[in-house]
Subunit: 528 residues, 2 copies
């Protein structure tokens, strides 16, 4: 068997498993968008059957054979790939050896395939079942605890979830650093020490900056301006956001937008499914959440179609994904140039609703900053501190430096320190997020890392194209999208988030561009 | 292992395969309703991966072991199920032996599982791939041939499809009777000789009856009345058909209705997905097609939920399925009682559009009969003759009594004989239907058998409940739905269509009730 033949066979098997995964995503989209209320149990049965089929495809022993051979460690007699090593049991704990016969792209594909295969085969079936059952129980326990503001009833769930996370890390070879395992799940290669350094620096700069911004007269005027926007008919909102998202480049022949309780983006390649929700008295909510999801959607639409399912055709991780949604939502859509383009079209669609709002007020409303204890209600400035808070607590939980029972107090203290606000109750504090209820630790940091990456990419864009806001003002977003396509989307998962940022911007990832961007944008609001 | 344990394990495996099948149905629904135009190729990749997963689940060797044991033929040591036969290779060609240890329900489950397992394991993988590829090629060849009215280019496709059908029949043990194999696919146990007898009798009665009805003055008035219905806003149509379908019993907490190019119903149990299409100038089109799909949907919603996926919780076959859609569409929704209930609500929703249409005209429009050469445009009377035509040609093709090249002429002759009309071109004749293009032979008869069954059920209903139209006039459809639930839906696939009809009506299936019903309804239109 030649190396090329082994690669071809491996890719076929990987793509089959990936296709089953995308079906699961579509079922989840359908559940949020279409499923009749009585259909939940049947859907759970379908998802369970599909998960079993996906696991069978992802753990196909033939994948293991092909990987071992392509990694040059044993097995199949690959023409031109012999490493002289004696055949033996595959030692998949070892990092894959670099096989000189594989080019860079092939090595990226093999490394990701190894990652997925290990995850599919190293976790015992009993453990996977226990974790799934606990995730479902945990979700319901969280919902009850939140409704009744009863953290004590939820604490045992969190303790169990932490224990399962530690066991998972041990199975996957992260025994000494379970929190790194959690981070690595969402962002390959990311470690707690890197996040710690980045967030530490961000926190030092951002805490005083937030106080400065929110104390400014512009902040109060922005909040007042946002409150003037009301009575926007939903049909008009729908048409306007369709116009905007299409103008910035979303290809509706390869995707769609529907309504769900919480906005999200799923799907990939030629079938991207975004959702939003419409509020008559908060027209900026649907608009900006749609632009955010469009950023995710543009990334998925920009991945190399021929490689869909391998490392060359999947996203680089959640931090990079989030950078794409935040860049379009914040750097682009909160800019003056953007609103010079869209303000007239917005007034045309909503003449009565916008009559009493002048251009300054609109721009202030788009950039309103108001501290809140609730993460999902936060503006782009304070949002980052909500994430720093969660990261610090997760880190301490995994280090054993914080007991679950002490979480509510630790949350309140951190909230006071970072946001200057203390939640009135646990349901507005430690119980506000769903993530930990099913054991999704290590996910939060990607939100803030995404903001950092977006800002760092943005200053690279400005260096190359200083007058880009003029293009926005003319409704032309094509250069920016083309640049992102070429420099971010086209790489798939060839590089980690850190490596990608270094390659594209020439610098290692840093919180300084984000702080600079926030200072320039929000400091500038008071200048008029 | 006990018999009960073997049954439980078998049912778990069957349900898993069934769940994967229902996912395929949902993907197909989504393709018709939601898929962005550019997503077709990705969807094909998903369906192929899912089909492979479904096949693996349906051909799991453990199912074969459990079946052989439960059929009392070999293998596992079932407590209390030993038949004294020596162990040996399962002989799945033989009809399952009746195992006294299994009750009637268990035997029904085992028989259906055997049917599915044989289909999954007896067709060689190469053959399945060849058939799938030919089906896709055939569809495109048909679409081209129809667009250009070029039967000659399509003839080789049909010849190939016939050859594949014969091979499939041979693999499945129907070597001597390939057309029976085609019928059996859609209606378990159905044979050509039974259909031949039923359709022969129907044809003798119906051909003169159609000429009588269409020559009557009422027929001309009905067509004129239908043409007066125009300018019905789509939103109003949508709201009205929702009101109607909900009133007759469709449970929208366990299903929904959307828009697609061609109406259909898919899904089952608690997640039934119906579709329709709206035409401003033909408001009865969306309404009646929705009531038709609602009949299918009520059947699926009425199947025993706990048994979803086994013979006790799946429909009895396409003929019974079609009887449910036709009964609600025709016997119920074209009745005077039904319109006494809904006419006032209809006028209320569409005051301007209905102002010039009196009650008689509305009732005539609902019951318009007009011969056409196109099956999908046909009314409920002439529709049956379109099916008789297709059955006779399919039967001759499979018997080798008709060559594919002679099909166009045979079609024209049969159309003249049965409908009194000759298509002006092949695209209005032999090329009008998609079914044969992917080898779906033997499907057409179920449409007409469904009409027969509906009529026969209807006279049973009238015998039990002579004044049921009075209930309809009050908007009360609950007795009828309850009766169908108990007498048809609750049985799942325990009985063949023929057996079910005999049990419910006390008579063997006959075309006489259908002819009587058509005579009473359409003969009656001239009475005023």
């Amino acid at each position: 068997m030649t190396t090329d033949a082994a690669m071809t066979e491996l890719i076929t098997l990987i793509k089959r498993a990936h296709a089953l995964g995308t079906i699961g995503e579509l079922l989840a989209w359908d559940e949020q968008v279409n499923l009749p209320p009585g259909g939940a149990e049947q859907r759970a049965t379908q998802q369970a059957a599909l998960a079993a089929a996906h696991h069978a495809a992802a753990s196909d022993p033939r994948i293991g054979e092909l990987l071992a051979a392509l990694e040059g460690r044993q097995g199949l007699d690959l023409a031109g790939a012999s490493t002289g090593q004696p055949p033996g049991r595959p030692d998949s704990d070892a990092r894959p050896a670099v096989v000189p016969q594989l080019d860079d792209d092939q090595q990226a594909v093999v490394a990701q395939a190894r990652r997925d295969y290990d995850r599919a085969t190293k976790l015992p079936a009993d453990f996977v079942r226990e974790k799934a059952a606990q995730g479902s129980r945990g979700y319901h326990a969280w919902a009850r605890a939140r409704a009744t503001d009863d953290f004590a009833s939820y604490a045992p769930v969190l303790e169990k979830n932490l224990e399962l996370a530690r066991r998972e890390a041990a199975y996957l070879g992260f025994g000494g650093a379970p929190y790194d395992c959690m981070l690595d799940k969402h962002d390959p290669g990311l470690t707690a020490s890197v996040v710690d350094r980045l967030f530490g620096e961000l926190k030092r700069e951002l805490v005083p900056l937030v106080r400065e911004i929110t104390a400014s007269p512009a902040a109060a005027r922005a909040v007042a301006a946002a409150e003037k926007l009301c009575g926007f008919p939903l049909d008009g909102q729908r048409a306007f956001l369709r116009e905007v998202t299409e103008a910035i480049g979303f290809d509706y022949s390869r995707g769609r937008i529907d309504v769900s309780l919480h906005p999200f983006c799923s799907g990939t390649g030629s079938d991207v499914r975004m959702t939003t929700r419409y509020k008559e008295h908060q027209p900026l909510d649907a608009l900006f959440s749609s632009i955010h999801e469009t950023g995710h959607g543009l990334y998925e639409q920009g991945l190399p179609a021929a490689h869909l399912g391998t490392a060359l055709g999947i996203h680089a991780g959640m931090a990079v994904h989030e950078s794409q949604s935040r860049l379009w939502e914040n750097q682009v859509a909160r800019s003056l140039g953007f609103w010079r383009c869209f303000e007239p079209r917005w007034r045309e669609r909503f003449p009565a609703q916008t009559a009493g709002v002048n251009a300054d007020e609109l721009y202030l409303a788009v950039n309103a900053v108001e501290p809140t204890v609730i993460r999902v209600d936060a503006d782009e400035v304070t949002y980052n501190l909500h994430i720093v808070l969660r990261f610090e607590l997760e880190k301490q939980l995994f280090a054993g430096a914080l007991a679950v029972r002490d979480l509510p107090a630790a949350w309140r203290a951190a909230s006071r320190e970072l946001l200057g606000l203390e939640p009135a109750s646990d349901r507005e504090g430690v119980l506000q997020d769903v993530h930990w209820s099913d054991g999704s630790f290590g996910y939060f940091p990607s939100y803030c890392l995404g903001n950092m990456i977006a800002a760092q990419l943005w200053y690279r864009v400005l260096a190359l194209r200083p007058a880009i806001e003029e293009e926005f003002a003319r409704g032309d977003f094509s250069w920016l999208l083309g640049w992102l396509r070429e420099n971010v989307h086209a790489h798939g998962r060839r590089f980690s988030a850190m490596e990608l940022v270094r390659r594209v911007t020439g610098d290692t990832l840093s919180p300084r561009p984000l702080v600079r961007y926030l200072r320039e944008r929000y400091g500038g609001l008071d200048r008029e």
